[in-house]
C-alpha cells in the first residue's frame, strides 16, 4: 500500500509543477492575441510602428513561450509517472482530450510559432498575419482541450464504470465536450489569460511613459492593452459569476466550501464577505454578510436554497454506506460471480462506488467498515474550508482592482491623457495581480475538488503511483531546483529586454539607439 506521505508528496509535486506551468500559460494565451491585433493594425494601416510593436512584444512572448513549452511537457508526463492509477482508471475518457489537444492545437501553435519569428522576410504581409492568428488560435484551442479534460475531472459526465476493465469508459463524446463545467471554465480561463497579457503590456508601456521614452510606441501599446484588457476582465468576471452558477448546479460541495456555507440557509442565502471559518465547530467567526447575494449568484433565483456543508455531510454518510454495497458487489463480479443479481446490485449502487473507495483510507476491508470509519470517510469527503474561502477572496479582490485600473486606463487613453502619473504608476504596480488571481483561481478549482481527483468517483489518495518516498523526494527536489534556475534566467532576460525596450529591435529609431547615436 502506498503511504500517506507518498500521496502528499505526489500532490505537492503536481501542485508545484502545474502552478509553475501556469505562470507562463496565461501570458501566451493573451499575448498571442494582442500580437495578432497589433499586426492586423500594421497590415491595415501600413504603419511600421505597429510592426515594431508586434516584433518587440513578440520577443517577450518568445521568452515566455519557451518556458511554457518546457513546463507543459511535465504535465503530460506526470499523469502517467505520478498518477498511474488515475491514468488507468480514467485514461479511456481523460486521455482523449489530451491526445486531441496535441493533434488539433499544439501542432498548429508550435509549427507556426517558428514562422512567426523567422518568417518576416519569407512571407507576404497577409501570409505572416495569418500565421500570427493561427498561433493565437492554436494556443487557445490548446486551452480548450485541457479544460475539457479538467472540466471532466470536476464534473464527470458522459462516462460509465465498467467492472470488466475496472475503469471509467466513455459513453458520450458530446457530453464530454459540451460539459457545462468545461465550457464556462474555458472562457473564464482564456479571458484570464487575455487580462494577464493586457496587464503585462499595460504595465510595461506605463513604465516607458513614466521614464519618458519611446512615447509613440508606448502610448499605442498602452491603448491597445487598455481596451483589450477591459473587455477581458469583464468577461472573466461575467464568466466567473457564471462559474458560480454552474457550481451551484454541479459542484455543490465546492460552492458551499468557498462560501463557508456551513448550514443550508433559507433562500436566498447571504454572502459572507469576510470572516474566519472554523471547520470543527462548523461556524464562521466574525462573519460580515451581505444578505441574499449568494443565493442570487448560486441559483439565479430568490427561492432556491443553497445546500450547506452539514447537509452535504449528511448525504455523504449515506453515500459511503451505499458505496460499501457497490464495492462488495464489484468484488463479487471481479471474482467471477457474474450472475444477474450481482450485476443488478452493482448497477444500483455504482454511482456511490467512489464513496466506498474513500474507506480505503481507513481500512483494507471496505466491506467490514465500522460505523466510526464510515463517519471518518464522510467527514473526509468535504474539502478544507478556510484555504478555499481565503484564496477565492484574494482572487476576487485582485479582479476588482484590475477592473478599476482598466476602466481608468481606457478613459485616459480615449481622451489622450495617458500621462496621468498616478494612473501610470498604478498600471505598473498592478502587474503581479493577474498572476496572483490566476494561481488562486486554479487553487480554488483543484483544492475545492478534494478529496477527489475525479469528483465523487476516484479519491486522490488512490490515484497516485506506487512509488517510494525517496523517489518523490528526488523528483520533487529535481523539479524545484531546475524550475528555480529557469525562473531566475527567464526573469533576468525578461527584465533586460523590457529595460531595453523597442531599441532591442535595432531598427535605429528608438530611445537608446538615438541617445547613444549607434546601434547597440
Amino acid at each position: 500500500m502506498i503511504t500517506e506521505n507518498v500521496v502528499d508528496l505526489s500532490r505537492w509535486q503536481f501542485a508545484a509543477t502545474s502552478l509553475y506551468h501556469f505562470l507562463f500559460v496565461p501570458l501566451t494565451l493573451g499575448l498571442s492575441f494582442l500580437l495578432a491585433i497589433m499586426e492586423s493594425t500594421y497590415v491595415m494601416t501600413g504603419k511600421e510602428i505597429y510592426k515594431d510593436m508586434t516584433q518587440f512584444w513578440g520577443k517577450l512572448f518568445g521568452i515566455n513561450f519557451a518556458l511554457g513549452v518546457t513546463t507543459g511537457l511535465t504535465m503530460e508526463f506526470e499523469f502517467g509517472m505520478n498518477w498511474s492509477y488515475f491514468s488507468h482508471y480514467v485514461g479511456d475518457v481523460f486521455g482523449a482530450p489530451l491526445a486531441i489537444e496535441g493533434l488539433m492545437a499544439f501542432f498548429l501553435e508550435s509549427t507556426f510559432v517558428g514562422l512567426f519569428f523567422f518568417g518576416w522576410d519569407k512571407l507576404g504581409k497577409g501570409q505572416h498575419l495569418l500565421i500570427t492568428w493561427l498561433v493565437a488560435l492554436g494556443s487557445n484551442l490548446s486551452a480548450l482541450w485541457i479544460l475539457v479534460a479538467n472540466g471532466w475531472m470536476q464534473n464527470p459526465v458522459g462516462a460509465d464504470f465498467n467492472y470488466e476493465t475496472m475503469r471509467m469508459e466513455l459513453t458520450s463524446f458530446g457530453e464530454l465536450l459540451f460539459n457545462p463545467g468545461a465550457q464556462v471554465k474555458f472562457v473564464h480561463t482564456v479571458a484570464a489569460g487575455y487580462t494577464t497579457a493586457s496587464a503585462f503590456v499595460l504595465g510595461i508601456s506605463a513604465y516607458y511613459m513614466l521614464k519618458g521614452r519611446d512615447a509613440a510606441f508606448a502610448q499605442r501599446s498602452y491603448t491597445i492593452a487598455a481596451g483589450f484588457g477591459l473587455a477581458a476582465i469583464l468577461s472573466v468576471m461575467v464568466l466567473g459569476d457564471e462559474s458560480g452558477f454552474t457550481d451551484g448546479e454541479i459542484q455543490k460541495t465546492k460552492l458551499a466550501a468557498i462560501e463557508a456555507e456551513w448550514h443550508t440557509e433559507p433562500a436566498p442565502a447571504a454572502f459572507t464577505v469576510v470572516g474566519f471559518p472554523d471547520q470543527d465547530a462548523m461556524v464562521t467567526h466574525h462573519a460580515l454578510e451581505v444578505p441574499w447575494l449568494l443565493g442570487l449568484i448560486g441559483t439565479r433565483s430568490n427561492d432556491t436554497p443553497i445546500m450547506g456543508l452539514s447537509e452535504i455531510l449528511e448525504k455523504n454518510r449515506l453515500r459511503v454506506k451505499n458505496g460499501i454495497k457497490a464495492y462488495a458487489a464489484l468484488h463479487e463480479l471481479r471474482n467471477g460471480n457474474k450472475n444477474d443479481k450481482t450485476i443488478a446490485e452493482f448497477n444500483s449502487y455504482k454511482q456511490d462506488l467512489g464513496y466506498g473507495l474513500l474507506l480505503k483510507r481507513y481500512t483494507d476491508k471496505v466491506v467490514d467498515a465500522t460505523a466510526e470509519q464510515i463517519e471518518m470517510a464522510a467527514k473526509y469527503s468535504l474539502p478544507r474550508v478556510a484555504p478555499l474561502f481565503w484564496t477565492f477572496r484574494i482572487m476576487v479582490v485582485c479582479g476588482i482592482i484590475m477592473l478599476g485600473i482598466f476602466v481608468f486606463a481606457v478613459i485616459a487613453s480615449s481622451i489622450r491623457k495617458c500621462r496621468q502619473n498616478w494612473l501610470l504608476r498604478a498600471s505598473l504596480y498592478m502587474m503581479p495581480l493577474p498572476w496572483i488571481a490566476c494561481e488562486m483561481g486554479w487553487f480554488v478549482a483543484e483544492f475545492g475538488r478534494q478529496p477527489w481527483t475525479i469528483a465523487e468517483i476516484l479519491p486522490t489518495f488512490l490515484s497516485a503511483s506506487s512509488l517510494t518516498e525517496l523517489d518523490l523526494y528526488l523528483s520533487l527536489s529535481g523539479y524545484i531546483g531546475l524550475y528555480t534556475v529557469f525562473l531566475v534566467i527567464e526573469m533576468f532576460l525578461m527584465l533586460k529586454f523590457i529595460k531595453l525596450g523597442p531599441s532591442s529591435l535595432h531598427k535605429g529609431r528608438y530611445h537608446f539607439e538615438i541617445a547613444s547615436g549607434e546601434a547597440l
Binding site: 519557451a66 481523460f94 496535441g102 508550435s110 510559432v113 514562422l115 506506487s466
Partner: protein, 379 residues
Amino acid sequence: MIFDYETIRLIWWALLGALLIGFAITGGFDLGVAILLPFLGKNDIERRVIINSVGATWEGNQVWFVTAGGALFAAFPMAYSVAFSGFYFALLLTLFALFLRPIGFDYRSKLPSQKWRSNWDIALFVGGFIPALIFGVAFGNLLKGVPFYFDNDMRIFYTGSFWALLNPFALTAGLLSLSMIIMHGAVFLQLKTVGAINQRCKKTVAIFASITLVIFALAGIWVANTDGYHISSSILHNAPSNPLVKTVDKGTGLWLANYANCPMLWAIPGLAFITGLITLLLSKFERPGWAYISSALTLAAVILTAGVSMFPFLIPSSSAMNNSLTIWDASSSLSTLSIMFWVTLIFLPLVITYTSWVFQILRGKITQEHIRLNDHSAY
C-alpha cells in the same frame, strides 16, 4: 464506416507506430543536430548556423512526441500508466533533458556573452543526447520485458529499479537509437549548410550510418538468441480490455516468430540495411535531399522491425508474464478508439500538409551571411 474492436485495435497499434516514426524522422533530426552542435560547429557563427538550421522547425517536430504520448494515453491507457510510472527515473531524466531545448534554442543567442552561449551549447547537447539514448534504452527494455504486476484492483506495481534498465541489451538498443539519430541529424545538416560544416557532415554520416548498421545487425543476432514472449492461451481480440486472463510463455527466439510465420516481413529489416547503405552513398555523392529521405526510411524500418517482432505485445511483464500488456487487452474502449480514429483521420493529414508547407517556406541553406544579416533576430 464502423470498425469492429479487433480492427480498430490493430489500427491504433499502427497509428501509434506512425506517430513514433513521425517523431523519429522530424524530431529525430533536430535531436541529432543538437548532439552534433559542439562537435561540428567550431566557432560561434558556425554554431549559430547549426542551431538555425533547425531553429524554426524543431518546436513543431517535438509535437510528434507529445502527440504520441497523448495517443498512447488515449488508446492504450494501461500501457501509458505502466511505462510512465515504471520507467520513472528514466523518464524524469528524459524530461529534464528535454527542458533544456526550448530555453536553449530561444535564450542562447539573446545575449552576446561567449560564456553564456557555450553553456547553452552544452545544454542543447544534453537535451539531444539523453533523450536519443533513453528512447532506445526504453525500447530495449520493452523487448526484454519489464518487471511489473497488477493486483485485483488493477493497481500497478513495478518491481524493478532504475539501474536494472541499464542492462547490456538495452544499452545496445540505446546506442542504436543514438547513432541513427546522429546519422539523421548529420544528413539534415548536410542538406541545410554549405562549406566546412557541410563537409564535416559528410564524414559524420559515413561514420554513423556504418555504426547504425553494425549495431542493428548485432541487436538482431542478440534478439534471435534471447528470450521473447508469446501468448500461449487463446485470447479474444474483441473482448473488454483485461490483461489478467491469458497465459504468456517465454522462450529463446520467440521475438522472431512473427517473421517465421510471415517471411514477407523480413523485407522490413532488409529495407533498413539497404536504405542505410544508400544513405551513406547519397551523402557521399552530395545528394543530401535524397539522403534525407533514405535516412528517414532507415529510421522507420528500424522502429518497425522492433514493433513487428513484439507484436501483439506492448509491454511484456518479465516477472508476472501473464500480466503482460498486449494490444488486445490493454486498449481503450471501442468507442474511444473509434472517436479518436476519426479525429486523427481528419487532423493528421492536415498537420502533415501545413508542416510540409512550412518546410517549403523555410527551404534553402542557412549560411554565415544569413546569420550576420539577422544578428539580432536569429537564434
